[in-house]
């Protein structure tokens, strides 16, 4: 049988369908989940197969609804709650941080809160200061929450299924620009582990590690670097809790150079934690200080004239690598870009979304 290729968005949809099919206690809830556009297509049509009792809309009450979902989860149900933007999930911080994260520990291991929370990171077309935040580091800071960021279609499906099976609260951060990315995904109830990094490309000169969309941008940077004779290893970090120091250590032991990228702000961000972990473990292997790449210390500007300079991309990563290696090689000239602005992943996006 040939490999089956589907998009990241379709993979998420399949993952949820598998969970709903496998366990009658699983349900899916969120603003617009059963609606006609179905969370950018990721929940579209599920209500037809599983019914309005298991695929639910909700009032605009992120705070209360997260507590209600938590309440159902400690009583045997397995909710998947969806937030169209991370920025909206901020209203559920109390439940997640004070309650869900701690109930297993705080009650001496008696309580379980198998809650799965999907949070979508917006980007582009002027998503701006309140529709594009990438706050995974906030949640990873709290013991008791598992935070993962699938970058491939296979992981989108497999990690979602594992998240629902897991007895701890798990938060999946999904970058909106991954939804159209395709990859091989098996049919059926296919799990992928919630932890462990994955080597996407082997190389010997430098290790490029990235979360989510930045793992793909790191791959693109590696392709640029190849053209100037730099052989980069690329690692998809996948999980914030825990960080896979073994895979990172093996790579840095080989390359001696480390660059880590994330979709969030660099300051106090996931990149800082990953870089510290690598320095602690592989200090002797590092030939130069690691480089952290993330968003600058400013809110997301709406106008594309500024947003285009806000997000680091493959060229920025590649240039940082050349600087790190002390190379004065010039990157190949930028390919002709049909997009008037870089605020859309490709020309099929004509806004708004």
């Amino acid at each position: 049988m040939g490999e089956r290729v589907i998009t990241y968005g379709e993979a998420l949809r399949e993952g949820q369908a598998e969970c709903l099919r496998a366990d009658p206690d699983t349900y899916l809830i969120g603003l617009g989940v059963p609606g006609p556009t179905g969370i950018f297509g990721t929940t579209k049509g599920l209500v037809d197969e599983f019914g309005p009792d298991r695929v639910l809309d909700m009032p605009s009450s992120e705070g209360g609804m997260s507590g209600i979902a938590l309440g159902t989860s400690i009583c045997g149900l397995r909710p998947i709650i969806v937030h169209m933007r991370v920025d909206f999930a901020v209203l559920s911080m109390e439940t997640l941080v004070n309650q869900a994260a701690k109930w297993h520990y705080m009650y001496g291991g008696k309580m379980r809160a198998p809650l799965t929370v999907r949070m979508i990171i917006g980007r582009g077309w002027g998503q701006g200061p309140q529709h594009s935040q990438s706050l995974q580091a906030w949640f990873a800071h709290v013991p008791g929450l598992k935070v993962v960021m699938p970058a491939t279609a296979k992981d989108a499906k497999g990690m979602l299924i594992s998240a629902v099976e897991d007895d701890a609260p798990v938060i999946l951060f999904e970058h909106r620009w991954l939804y159209g990315v395709t990859g091989e995904v098996d049919e059926g109830y296919t799990k992928e582990p919630l932890d462990g990094a994955r080597v996407l490309r082997t190389g010997r000169d430098v290790t490029l590690a990235g979360y989510s969309y930045m793992a793909l941008e790191s791959l693109r940077a590696a392709q640029l670097l190849e053209q100037v004779g730099v052989d980069a290893e690329v690692i998809d970090l996948r999980s914030l809790t825990p960080i896979d120091t073994a895979t990172l250590g093996a790579s840095v032991g080989k390359t001696g150079h480390f660059v880590v990228s994330d979709t969030g702000h660099a300051a106090y961000g996931a990149v800082s934690e990953v870089a510290s972990a690598v320095v602690e473990r592989n200090f002797a292997d590092l030939k130069r200080a690691p480089v952290r790449i993330g968003l600058p210390d400013v809110p997301t500007p709406t106008t594309p004239a500024l947003a285009d300079h806000f997000y680091p991309g493959p060229r920025e990563i590649a240039q940082q690598v050349l600087d790190l290696l002390g190379s004065d090689r010039q990157l190949p000239p930028e390919a002709e870009d049909p997009r008037p602005w870089k605020d859309v992943p490709d020309m099929s996006f004509t806004g708004p979304y």
């Binding site: 701006g128 200061p129 106008t303």
Partner: protein
């Protein structure tokens, strides 16, 4: 006007609303003409955004208020320059009716340096401090409590200021709405809460989200907030209720919640129609279009001989010219320079 609306001192008794709201009462002719002009202006601005959005130069999420022009027009007719307005994601009409600068708004949608937020906010973050439009933000219900805070500040500083806060039916499901109402009610703050109930939150119908037979209006009194509801497509009716509410708030009597039933014509976000999505019927959309707040008002003013055809045409031509100028201004304005990216994260931390 009924004498009870003229009282100066705070009143501790809830008053029977019907006796002070004579439904036949109308604004003076010049006020009605001005309100019609503002409603038409909002419509023509929105129409032009719709016409040009496909050019892909307004690159930000944009929520059209076509069909919902009456509430901002009828409420703002009673607001003074020192009064404040807060809004959410669907804010163009609220901004314009309070006197927000049109050119700066269009430039903001075009992401230009001359925009009301230097291009950093877009359609979802309009602001005009001079006009007393203190801001719009799209996180549901968030600006409701901020607006209550503005009213509390006015009270504490002894300022004569009413704060009008606009939001949708969906926003009333957030805890922040109830908390804000409670505090305003406890402290009798000079707030007019304006709920534009357009029956939908994105594609979700009201009956899934809120109990049947419980209107938003009913939430007010339990929090000490007097509440009224009315036809949100009828400018005269909004004006009547708005007058009562603003006067009650200004006199220090109590905050008032106004619920206006109205309807969004376009898709939730963006310039297109959305009947094909099937979450609302074409018949329903059509029935509301027939009750267009702008054209029905034009008709009424014409029938009542308040506004003649010639004057109406001249008015329209004037607005057309103003709208064209605003778009020209926006499109010929520069984009912010790169240094703007780092500017204004903190007050006083300028890049130059």
């Amino acid at each position: 006007m009924a004498g009870s609306m003229d009282q100066q001192t705070p009143d501790t008794q809830p008053r029977p609303v019907v006796t002070v709201l004579d439904s036949t009462h109308r604004a003076e002719a010049d006020v009605r003409i001005a309100m019609y002009r503002e409603a038409l202006r909002i419509r023509l601005v929105e129409d032009e955004i719709v016409a040009r959005y496909g050019e892909q130069e307004m690159r930000c999420p944009t929520h059209m208020c076509i069909g919902q022009e009456a509430p901002p027009v009828g409420v703002s007719a009673h607001l003074q320059p020192q009064d404040y307005v807060f809004s959410a994601h669907r804010s163009h009409g609220h901004y314009l009716a309070k006197g927000g600068d049109l050119k700066a708004m269009i430039a903001e949608l075009y992401g230009r340096a001359t925009g009301c937020a230097s291009g950093k906010g877009g359609s979802q973050h309009l602001i005009d401090m001079d006009a007393g439009f203190l801001g719009s933000a799209p996180i549901l219900a968030s600006t409701i409590s901020v607006g209550v805070g503005a009213a509390w500040a006015a009270r504490r500083r002894g300022e004569d200021r009413v704060v009008a806060i606009y939001f949708g039916d969906g926003a009333t499901e957030e805890g922040a709405f109830h908390e804000a109402l409670n505090f305003a009610g406890v402290n009798r703050l000079p707030v007019v809460f304006v709920c534009e109930n357009n029956l939908y939150s994105v594609h979700s119908q009201l009956d899934m989200r809120q109990p049947a037979h419980r209107t938003v209006k009913e939430i007010g009194p339990v929090h000490g907030v007097e509440a009224l509801s009315g036809d949100g497509n009828d400018i005269d009716e909004v004006w009547r209720l708005g007058r009562y509410a603003v006067e009650r708030a200004r006199s220090g009597a109590n905050p008032v919640l106004l619920e206006f039933f109205t309807y969004r014509w376009k898709e939730h976000c963006g310039p297109l129609e959305d009947g094909h999505l099937g979450y609302r019927s074409e018949e329903e959309i059509e029935s509301w279009r027939k009750r267009c707040p702008v054209t029905t008002y034009a008709q009424r003013l014409s029938e009542e001989q308040v506004l003649g055809d010639e004057a109406a045409q001249a008015m329209r031509a004037e607005i057309d010219a103003e709208v064209a100028q605003a778009f020209e201004f926006a499109k010929s304005s520069p984009f912010p320079e790169l240094a703007e990216l780092d500017r204004d994260v903190f007050p006083g931390r300028g890049a130059i």
